[in-house]
Symmetry: C2
Subunit: 441 residues, 2 copies
């Protein structure tokens, strides 16, 4: 599946990325059957860096996606909604490819933007037809764009780039695709895992995401695609995605802004030949939990690359009456600039966290609230608040030890029920301000 | 009304405050009749700075207040709610004094906190009895506290301080009270104005506020008291406050956090002897609009002192179907870290603003949205978006001229109706991070 045209070569060596992020860059992987990937430099980015990626399935897929709810949603989002809808209604049309470009978001580009998204998808459809050696009914390609907004998409460069794209199943080809997703990201975000379904059948997932910034940073931001060789029905895939997105990509926050381009897609091609998952049951639950865990880890990579981030903070709220309540409180804590700045300052500011709990809008019994801080190294937690009362004087020495670590978990117990939720965020640093004050210039 | 005891002297010279804030510090004032003020150093702050203020009416007042909705509301808030309620239900009890301390918020202090708030109020009630020369039924004092949370209030220091407090009607005495409100504020926030009611009757208002930080900064934050000599009924005062707070103190945002202690009170003593405002009508409307304008200006002083703020940004959303819709969109723009950081970077990032409009949760017709930026010097605006389309290429030179100014207004027109709302905010700077990362230490 190589040699479809000219290829622009670039290095996939992990050493070109920051030292501190090396541990998050995989050197090998176990990839889902029937999928290929590739990345190249097609000339969208003025600096000549990789800006075009393709993910490809050798057979029809069951595909689902969630999109930004921003009303100024970008052309690719509008277009992909139609593709997904078309595949559901058609017996013959199915997603086979995802074409992704960085450098230009094709957002706030009016009607021409939609025409350009169609042309970009047509390039993907042509690739499918070429690889298959026969024409298709079309509608086989999802498109994703990220980068500068308000600029027209250079469609010709993308079409030529897709035509010349080299794709393959090797780890290096997936790395090429991941690198071509990057905008202000400081490292490529690629993950692959093999999971066991409850019947012992092994299935695989590979995911690429990009976000950099504050997770939803500069308009055109959060993109993610998970490819799996699991055989699963449309309905069960939809349900699994809804469940897992709420606990992964919708559970991360850097600054709370929601981009015009945010898209998370899951593409399942059934190449693992497991007994197709078509109903609730142990196989479905195993798949759903595997997907949730995988996507939470994938989304975590975006937080690790939060603009200026120095810490990975997990906010866990337990003892809520509902998942929605728990999430609401966790989200309020995780998006508080004061809380995030305190973490940057390595300040165990229980007051700011308690304050955020208090204005989250979820009814509380304040005298039942407990709060503790858990260090990433697994050593003993530090209790901050018990039954609504601060545990003073604070053990500043222990607090300082915990807050020096890169990973910190804050656990808040509401004492009202059995539901819990997690949010993943990072601290708010001087570098966040620097990066975002100077982005356009 | 002087010489009730020992007085700790301190300078009220404006020159001790930052050069850039000089223009916001009044050198004289026209104060409401029948009110006195004072401030002193009672020893709560370890650095010996002013930390105790009293506002005093020589006659019974009609008083109303709005409080934080944070469920971890501080003891003074819980106590004041009872005082306000008591005055409404009683024919004889009325608010006569406000005792304010800085340095300790009396927040998250449990049952003892409420006892301490009562003791603080008792000191105010005793002052009233002493000045009147006769005992009262009590319940005459509102208390407000701001500063560090989780620490017991030093009630003895406050009681002695109130006993020794010198109060007076002169500008300098109001300045003393304003200075004693300060925590991380860099300048005292005092305002006084004379207004004309529709019948030609002149009334006066004086207000003191504090906020510093991000308006709702470090837990114990936003306090404000407006004293007026207008004669107005309880019901009409309540209505006027609800209207004006929505357009002033609830229309400012620095970081969106809501403190445990936030309190805004309006105290009307009727000393102007105007025909008492008891119903809707031109007199009420004149009063309401005067109060709204006054409180918007007072709240603006808090934004001027936003932690690390370099700009005063007014976000105006017009053409909405309702005030609530307009406010929701304005608030979403004004609380976006990306938008605020762009202003700090003097970047005309219309994309981030448009993005915030898109996720505000108010239904839009995106092709009707206009956006422009107005400089504070009154010169021509710069159109950024027309009918949902960015006006590219952006006039970077003009954008740069506008964004160099301290005051900038962003106007967004939704094209859906006739309602509008404003939010007042500041930029998000490196200093914001520095101040808040290091607050407790």
């Amino acid at each position: 599946m190589r040699g479809l045209g000219l290829v622009s070569r670039f290095s996939t060596d992990a050493k070109q990325f920051p030292e501190a992020k090396q541990k998050f860059i995989p050197r090998s992987g176990t990839y889902p059957k029937g999928f290929s990937a590739g990345g190249s430099c097609c000339g969208i980015k003025k600096n000549g860096k990789p800006d075009l990626a393709v993910l490809f399935s050798d057979r029809p897929t069951t595909t689902t996606a969630v999109f930004t709810t921003n009303q100024f949603c970008a052309a690719p989002v509008q277009f992909d909604r139609q593709v997904i809808q078309g595949a559901r209604q058609s017996g013959t049309q199915a997603v086979r490819a995802v074409v992704v470009n960085s450098g230009c978001a094709n957002a706030v580009t009016g009607k021409q933007g939609l025409v350009d998204a169609q042309s970009m998808a047509a390039a993907g459809d042509a690739l499918v037809a070429r690889v298959d050696g026969k024409s298709t009914v079309g509608g086989n390609t999802l498109v994703m764009s990220t980068g500068v907004i308000g600029q027209a998409l250079p469609v010709d460069k993308i079409a030529k780039g897709v035509e010349a794209m080299e794709i393959g199943q090797e780890h290096d080809m997936w790395m090429r695709a991941a690198i071509a997703h990057m905008t202000t990201d400081t490292f490529p975000k690629l993950l692959s895992r093999e999971f066991e379904l409850s019947g012992g059948q092994r299935v695989r997932m590979a995911g690429i995401t990009k976000g950099a910034g504050m997770i939803h940073p500069n308009m055109a931001t959060l993109l993610g695609t998970v490819c799996t060789d699991t055989a699963v029905s449309q309905e069960m895939l939809d349900r699994a995605l809804a469940h897992s997105v709420a606990r992964s990509f919708n559970a991360i926050s850097i600054d709370g802004d929601m981009s015009t381009n945010d898209t998370i897609a899951v593409i399942a091609n059934g190449a693992a030949a497991n007994a197709r998952i078509e109903a609730e049951g142990p196989e479905y639950v195993a798949f759903r939990e595997a997907l949730t865990e995988f996507m939470a880890e994938l989304a975590g990579l975006v937080v690790r690359d939060g603009e200026g981030a120095t810490k990975f903070i997990t906010v866990e709220v337990a003892g809520a009456k509902s998942f929605a309540d728990a999430k609401q409180v966790a989200s309020t804590i995780a998006t508080s600039s004061l809380v995030k700045t305190a973490f940057y300052g390595q300040d165990a500011n229980w007051g700011r966290i308690l304050c955020a709990v208090g204005y989250a809008g979820v009814p509380l019994e304040t005298t039942k609230v407990n709060m503790a801080m858990y260090p990433g190294d697994g050593s003993a937690p530090l209790v901050l608040v018990q039954r609504g009362e601060p545990q003073l004087p604070l053990d500043e020495e222990r607090a300082s030890e915990i807050l020096k670590q890169e990973d910190v978990l804050v656990r808040v117990e509401l004492g009202l029920g059995d539901e819990s939720a997690r949010m993943y965020t990072c601290d708010l640093s001087h570098d966040y301000v620097s990066i975002n004050a100077d982005y356009r210039s």
